[in-house]
Structure formats: C-alpha cells, structure tokens
C-alpha cells in the first residue's frame, strides 16, 4: 500500500511545490532587483527597501496592519474564549443559535460581510477609519476563536470547575486555574488563526476603511495598478513576518517540551 508512489507521484509533488512556491520566491528575488523592471534582473540592490522605509504611506500601512492584528487578536481571543466557556454551560438551543450565527461570517463571501459592515457603520454614524477596521476585524476573528476553543471544552469535565468552587475557589479562580489551563491549546490555535486572518485580510478591510487608514493589503491593491517595485519589498516583508510567526509558533512548543523533559530528567 505504501509503496505505490511511483516516479509520477514524485514528479507531481515537485510540480506542485514549484507551482505553490515559485511566485513567492519570484517576488522575493525581484524585491532586490537593481532596476524598476518586474521581469528582468539587473543586479542586486536594496533601493526598494530604502524606498519602502522612507515612504510614509507604506510605513503607516505596516503600522496599522500590525496594530490592528495585535489588538484584534487579543480582544477576539479573550472574548471568544469567555463566550465559548459561557456557551458550553448554556442551554443547547442558545448554543446552537449562537453557533449558527457565528458560522455566517465564516461561510459568507467576504465581500458580503464587507458591504454589510460598511452599511452598518454608516447607518449608526461611525466615521470610517481605524476604529471601524478594528471593529470589523474583531467581528470576523471571534468566530474562529470560538470554533477552535469549543471542541476543547466539549472534552472537558464540567465537574472540575464546580468542585474547585465547592472547595472555596471564586468563579474567577476556577475559570483561570481550572478551565483555562485545560483548553490552552485551543485558545492558542484560535489566537494564531485570528492573527493571520487579521494580518492578511483585504476584502473586509477594503470596504470598512476610510480617512486614509490603509493596511498592507489595501496598499498593494491600490498601488499594483502602476509598476512599483517597492510593493515587492513590502510583500517580502509580509512573507518574512508571517513565516517568522509560523516558525515561532512551531518552535516555542518544541523548546518548552525539551525544557520540560530536561526538568523531568533532573527531578528523576
């Protein structure tokens, strides 16, 4: 069964890898190009990075993207986790209704969510800008947090928290010391999804922003109409940042585990 991978299978996988990664590598290479061309390489230079770092709108977009991603991640992780804990103890009907409504932004085309929020913000008279973009990001991030925390809560023994409170713990202590430690993996993966969803978002941000507040995606979209190699530098920066986050997410648990092992060994 396992040895059916012939030459064709290998070729297919190599072609897949090339298809997936060639554009990413291409844009990174051309960000160091010596000329404006997007098609011909003329020596190595860092001029597009210099241009990017001296470009106010680009630096602002980077700032807004990171600021909103961090804020949206923190808010949606806290709110999403608490909501999931609350829901896990609520009546089934309420839980089902909330889960169904939560699925709407996950299932809906992003453009529909975007225009809905655009009309909502203007209906209640909030000025479009940083605030609306943050609200929108929190709105579409929370469902993902709930979706990744919920399954962990389902496998949790509900009596543990009750037992802790019977033994004199306050509800807050029971929450923080009994429930949260047991669902930490779900919370962390929810936070990671929230961060990358927010960091990468284009469609919804595009519709709810205003007042000159742009994130990186919106900037790439509006600038890509003209040849501008600084976009390559910006894109490379985005790729590097997300790769760094992913590496950190993957390496931190490994280091922790190693430390834990070493600790265990010394105890033994």
């Amino acid at each position: 069964m396992k040895q059916k991978n012939g030459l064709w299978g290998k070729i297919l996988l190599v072609l897949t890898a090339i298809f997936f990664y060639a554009p990413i590598v291409y844009i990174m290479i051309f960000s160091f190009n010596g000329s404006r061309s997007l098609t011909k390489l003329n020596g190595f230079s860092l001029q597009w990075y210099e241009k990017m770092f001296s470009d106010r709108t680009m630096m602002q977009a980077i700032f807004y993207t990171i600021a909103i991603a961090l804020l949206a991640t923190v808010i949606s992780t806290v709110v999403g986790t608490l909501t999931a804990i609350g829901l896990s103890r609520s009546k089934k009907i309420l839980r089902n209704v909330v889960e169904q409504v939560n699925n709407l932004p996950v299932m809906n085309p992003e453009i529909v969510t975007g225009i809905g929020l655009l009309m909502f913000f203007s209906a209640i008279g909030i000025k479009k800008g940083f605030g609306t973009m943050l609200l929108a990001h929190v709105m579409f991030c929370i469902p993902y947090v709930i979706l990744s925390v919920m399954p962990k809560l389902r496998s949790l023994d509900p009596n543990l928290a009750d037992a802790a409170m019977d033994l004199g713990a306050t509800p807050l202590q029971a929450l923080w010391k009994i429930i949260v430690p047991q669902i930490t993996p779900g919370i962390l993966s929810g936070a990671l999804i929230a961060f990358t969803m927010s960091f990468d978002d284009f469609v919804i941000s595009y519709f709810v922003t205003g007042n000159g507040v742009n994130n990186i995606s919106i900037l790439v979209y509006t600038m890509s109409k003209r040849v501008n190699p600084s976009i390559n530098a910006l894109s490379t920066l985005v790729i590097a940042m997300i790769t760094l986050v992913l590496i950190m997410i993957n390496i931190i648990p490994m280091i922790q585990e190693k430390r834990k092992k070493r600790k265990d060994e010394t105890v033994l």
Binding site: K4, T16, L135, I242
Partner: protein, 281 residues
C-alpha cells in the same frame, strides 16, 4: 452549576449588532429604492429587475459562473491526484507534505496574486521561456487564462486538504478486502477509494466555488481593469457609483446562487453514500 453562563451574554449582543444587523441591512437595501432616509422606506423589486433586464449584467453573471465552475473543475482534477499521492506516504511525510500545501495559504492572498503579475507579463519569465523555444510572446496577463490561473493558485490548497482528510479517514482494510476479493488496483480505486473520498471532494468544491464566484481582486489584478466579474460590479456599486440598493440586490443574487449550489452539492454528497451502503448490504 450555571455560574459561567452569563459571560457569553455580551457577545450575543455584539453578534446581533455586528453579524445579524449588517445582513438585515443588505436585505433591506436590496428591496428599497435609493435615496430614502431611515424613516421612510419604499419597497420595490426594481433593483432586481434592473439586473435581470440588463444584458451587460447578465453577461457578467454568466462569465462569473463559467469562471467559478472552470476553477472548481480544474481544482478537482489537479487536487485529487495531488491529495491521493500525499495520502500514500507514511504519516510523518504526509504531515510535511500537508504543511507544504498549507504554508502558502498563510501568506497574504493579495501579495501572492500580485506576484503572478510579473510572471505572466509579456516579457515575463514564462514568455522568456517561450521565446527560448522559438515561440512568440503569448499574451498571458489580462486574459481569462490568467484569472482562472490566479483562482486555482489561491484556492486549490483547500481542495487538496479536504480530499486528503477524507482519504486518510478511509478504512484501509476495505482496500485489502477488495484486493482479496479479486479487484485490481483500478477497480478497487473506482469502487472503494473514489466513492469513500467523495465527501471530501464535495466539501472541497464548496470551499473553492464560493470564493471563486465572489472574488473581485483576482480579476482586477490578473484580468486587468476592464475585466469585470460579479464581485467587481458589487465593488463598483459600493465604492464608486454609491448605489447601495442595487449593490445589495446583486449581493443577494450572488448569495442565493451560492446557497443553491451548496444545497446541490450536499444532495450529490448524500446520494452516493446511500448507494454505497445499499450495495454493500
């Protein structure tokens, strides 16, 4: 003990405001005339009539559907063999290969789409290769080909992952049983593996079709400014012409199409399973 119930209440309020209210606004705007203020609504079907009576919009709808279907079909035809080959590896390598498929999806879709602009240009890397073998520059960028390529590139990981999951969930002993009963490899693939992986294909189809039919930046970047799909029409109504009522109506039409196609996909999903169960018994 119900002590934690109440901590979900604030979110229920937030959810009603931020998820439900915007959806209701879309429906409200779609069925009312432009320019009314919040207090006086005039209900109408004009917005829908305008869409279905205009050949230009119908053409756009048709093109969007054709491109979305083409993208979905290509994703199945390419994604299935890739998922199948991945599923043949040992678990450790499978994990690595799945990671290889997933990693690009973590990177900004817009950035990855933008990258194709340089590759597909008239003097880009593909055309340089063509000229090496003596073919003239082929126009790639700003064509339907480029739009479909961009969509397949962005959405095929979802298809591969879904099919891969359903293939790994499959009970391997069924294949051995088929072999013992004299089926050759093609037969056991067609009669065991394929039917059992169909749910994965179906959920992959919905995951590809939905963003493909509503995408508006892929046609804009790779199809050029003149290339209009349904998503671009909605974008124009909201951000350029400011006709929110008409834009809402088009979004509703698109939503109905998506819901219908999902319903159809689910129906197809159910029938082979019941069929398979029947023939086995």
């Amino acid at each position: 003990m119900k002590s934690f119930q109440r901590i979900s209440y604030p979110y229920i309020l937030w959810m009603t405001l931020m998820i439900v209210a915007p959806m209701l606004l879309i429906v409200l705007y779609a069925f009312t005339t432009q320019g009314n203020d919040v207090t006086t609504f005039r209900f109408t079907l004009e917005n829908f009539a305008r869409f279905f009576q205009d050949a230009v919009f119908l053409d756009v709808l048709k093109r969007s559907l054709i491109i979305a279907v083409a993208t979905t079909v290509i994703c199945v035809l390419l994604g299935y063999p890739i998922a199948y080959v991945i599923a043949q590896h040992n678990p450790k390598n499978q994990m690595r290969l799945v990671l290889m498929v997933t990693l690009p999806t973590w990177i900004n879709m817009l950035v990855r789409t933008y990258a194709w602009m340089g590759i597909l240009q008239d003097d880009g890397i593909i055309n340089s290769f063509f000229s090496l073998v003596g073919l003239g520059p082929v126009k790639l960028l700003h064509t339907t080909f480029a739009v479909i390529l961009g969509m397949v590139y962005n959405f095929i990981p979802f298809m591969i992952l879904q099919i891969h999951t359903s293939l790994t969930k499959m009970d391997q002993s069924l294949l051995e049983a088929a072999e013992d009963l004299g089926a050759n490899r093609v037969e056991s693939f067609l009669r065991v593996t394929l039917p059992l992986s169909l749910p994965g294909v179906i959920s992959g189809i919905t995951l590809v079709f939905l963003p493909a039919v509503s995408s508006f930046f892929i046609p804009k970047l790779l199809g050029g400014g003149q290339y209009v799909l349904i998503g671009n029409v909605i974008e124009t109504q909201f951000l350029t012409s400011g006709d929110w009522n008409f834009g809402s109506a088009i979004s509703l039409i698109m939503a109905v199409i998506i819901i219908l196609s999902m319903y159809l996909a689910k129906k197809v999903d159910r029938s082979p399973e019941s069929l398979g169960g029947g023939s086995k018994g």
